[in-house]
Structure formats: C-alpha cells, structure tokens
Subunit: 219 residues, 2 copies
C-alpha cells in the first residue's frame, strides 16, 4: 500500500504547485504579502465570500505557503517565509517570459507607451539617499497606512491627472504597488509618460522591499 518515496515526494511538490494554481488563491497571497490579516479582511479585499476565502486559505496553509494563528476571535494569516514570495514572483517571471497572452496584457496596460525597464530596489535606495527622486505608492490607502516606503506619496490611479501638476517635471518619478502581481504601477507609469513625465516602475513592491530589510514607514 505504501507507494514509492519518489512518488510520495512528487505528490507533495504537486500540492505546493496546486495551491498556486487558482487565481483566487494568488489574490489572497498577494494580499497576505502586504501584511498579515484576518479572514474577513482578506475576503473583503479580494471580493470572495468569507467561507470561500476561508477554504482557499486552508488550502494555502496545507501547502505550507502561509501560516495562521488565532488572535482573539480572529484568525490571522501570514506568509510562511520569504520563499513564498520568491515563488510567487518566479511564477510571474516564467509567465511573462513564455506566455504570449501575458505579454499582450502587459502591453495593453502600457497603453502604447514604451515602458522603460523597472528600477531595482537597490538603485531606488541609492537615489533616495541622494534625494533625487519622487516616489508614488499606488495602493489603496489602508495598505499604504500599514506600511510604505519612506517619502512615498499615496495616490489613487484615478487621481493621477489631478495631482500631476503638483509633480516636478524634472525629477524622475518611481512608482510601485503591491508586489509580484502589481499592476496599477504599470498603468500609472503609462499615464505619467504620456503626460511628459519621466517615470519608471519599481521592480517588486512593498513586500519585497520590506523583505530585504529596508526601511518601511507605518501609518
């Protein structure tokens, strides 16, 4: 009855991959990567029903990608460790490299503009110390409040046109959002480029920034 250890191992690896094989769970992971949260908050953010989110979260926990702890009446989920984040990111990288459909979508987001290469986090840190950079955080206000890159300004996608006049046309603007699956930043950069600004995306979002031990400002 005991199958070969080889087969048993592959089964386990498949469990990990399976956990990442549903868009709903990827959404949940992205949210959890912003910072630990309870089930209801996660369900809210992702648009899932609470029961459904709970089941997906348990699948993620069984796969070892997240851990949970009870805190009062809430159950708080968080990423197991940085490898989970790396795995999410590597999946994105492979998809971007090899899937034409992904390329098409990203091109659509760029809206005709020719998006420059993203800025590395190291380079941004360097530029920050020189003071020669403007940082925009395009996540929802509550996530911004939970933590953001020092000096970043929180802006909604829809407000770009409104705040554009207050931006310096000479200083480069670096835009970031959630992390591996960040998408608003692509759009914001496209808008800014069209308006004649000098804008680039940050490579990775806040979770990666924090993971590298860089300074994060709360509230």
């Amino acid at each position: 009855m005991s199958i070969s250890p080889k087969a048993a191992l592959l089964e386990e690896y498949a469990v990990v991959a399976h956990a990442l094989s549903a868009p709903a769970r990827l959404m949940l992971l992205e949210q959890i990567a912003q910072g630990e949260r309870g089930v209801e908050a996660l369900a809210d953010k992702t648009g899932l029903t609470v029961a459904n989110a709970s089941q997906h979260l348990q699948a993620l926990r069984r796969a070892g990608l997240v851990t949970s702890r009870r805190e009062g009446k809430s159950v708080i989920y968080r990423l197991s460790d940085a490898k989970t984040l790396a795995l999410m990111d590597l999946i994105r990288v492979v998809a971007e490299r090899n899937l034409a459909q992904v390329d098409r979508i990203l091109r659509g987001l760029a809206d005709g503009t020719d998006a420059p290469e993203p800025v590395s986090r190291g380079e941004l840190a360097q530029r920050m110390s020189e003071g020669s950079v403007n940082i925009l955080d395009v996540r929802p206000a509550d996530e911004f409040a939970m933590g953001h890159i020092p000096g970043a300004r929180n802006v909604m996608l829809g407000d770009i046109d409104r705040i554009a006049p207050t931006l310096s046309p000479r200083t480069e603007i670096i835009v970031y959002c959630r992390g591996p699956y960040c998408i608003y930043a692509h759009q914001v950069v496209a808008v800014l480029l069209k308006l004649g600004f000098n804008a680039r995306r940050l490579d990775g979002g806040l979770p990666e920034w924090r993971e590298e031990g860089r300074r994060v400002l709360a509230s």
Copy 2:
C-alpha cells in the same frame, strides 16, 4: 465580456502553477531536464502511456514551461529555459521547508543516518581541480551516457554494496543524480555512510550543473 487585466494576468499565472500541480508532469519535467527527448522516450521513462504523456506534455507547453519541435517523425520536447528549472527547484525548497510530510520522507530515505549538508556545485568544481574527490552518478546508464560530470562513475543504487570495496575509504565521495527531484543520491549517501565512507550529496543534479555552463561529458 472582457474581464479586468488583473484577473486575466492572474489566470495566466495560475496556468503556469497548474502545469506543475500533477506528479506526472513533474516527472516529465525532471526527465526533460536531463536533456531533450521525444514523447515515446519520455512516456517510457515515466511509465505513462504515450497518449497520456502527450497530453501532459501539451499542458506543459501551453504553460510555457517546455517547447517542442518536430524532427522527422518525432516531436522533441525541451525545457523553455533555465527559469523552468529554477521554478521546479523553488517548489521543492518550499515543500521541504514547510511540509512535515516531506521531511518525514527524506528522513526515511536517510535510513537513520544523519545526512550532512550537500556540497555546492562551486565547491565540487574546486575539489575536482584538486583531484581530491570521487564522484558517483546514480542515474540510469542511458542518462549517464547522454551527459555526466567529467570523472563521475555511473553506479546503480543496487550495485553500491558490490562496488563499495573499490572505493577509497579516505577520499570523500560526492553523489548526484537527476536534479531538483533527485532521490537516489539520498539513499546512496545513506548506504555509503553506513559502510563507513565519507559521502555527501551534490546540491542539484546534472541539469543545474550544465545550466551553470560547467563541463559535461557525453557518451
């Protein structure tokens, strides 16, 4: 009818993860990582029927993890690029870190011995140039023939006891096999340790070695 780009991207990422979520496909990837092969050879190696293997291979291709080309009457599959290998490996790492079941299986393979940390590929290369090392390749003969680390000796798991007397008890023995999902090497190291030899696994297998541009001997 057009869903949001965000959702569309997550769908695509999920496709990639889904491709890795079946043991049969992981087996196929492991084989393909040894070197490109036709459908029938892959089906043979993995014990799948040809039709079934063909379908799994197409799933892998749709996910962008492998590519295929026609060569005469055969269709040859190969890994898209090194990122595919990295992805396979990262899944293993996450599983080993977080899943108790995996730990249990690996401990079982070690058969009571306390397996030392694997040797890095860089260290092995260094040791090779010094000539202070014995290398064992524990893959099937045909895979060994397709390419192996120079100086490695091809040994079957079952033949260890027989060839053990021919091994130097003082020189360290480095054992490797297929790659991310290598398992024989664990067992062989355990056997050698029990016999009183000084043995360690190589971190990664032949695919990773080749990927780093290190020398590989064919035939």
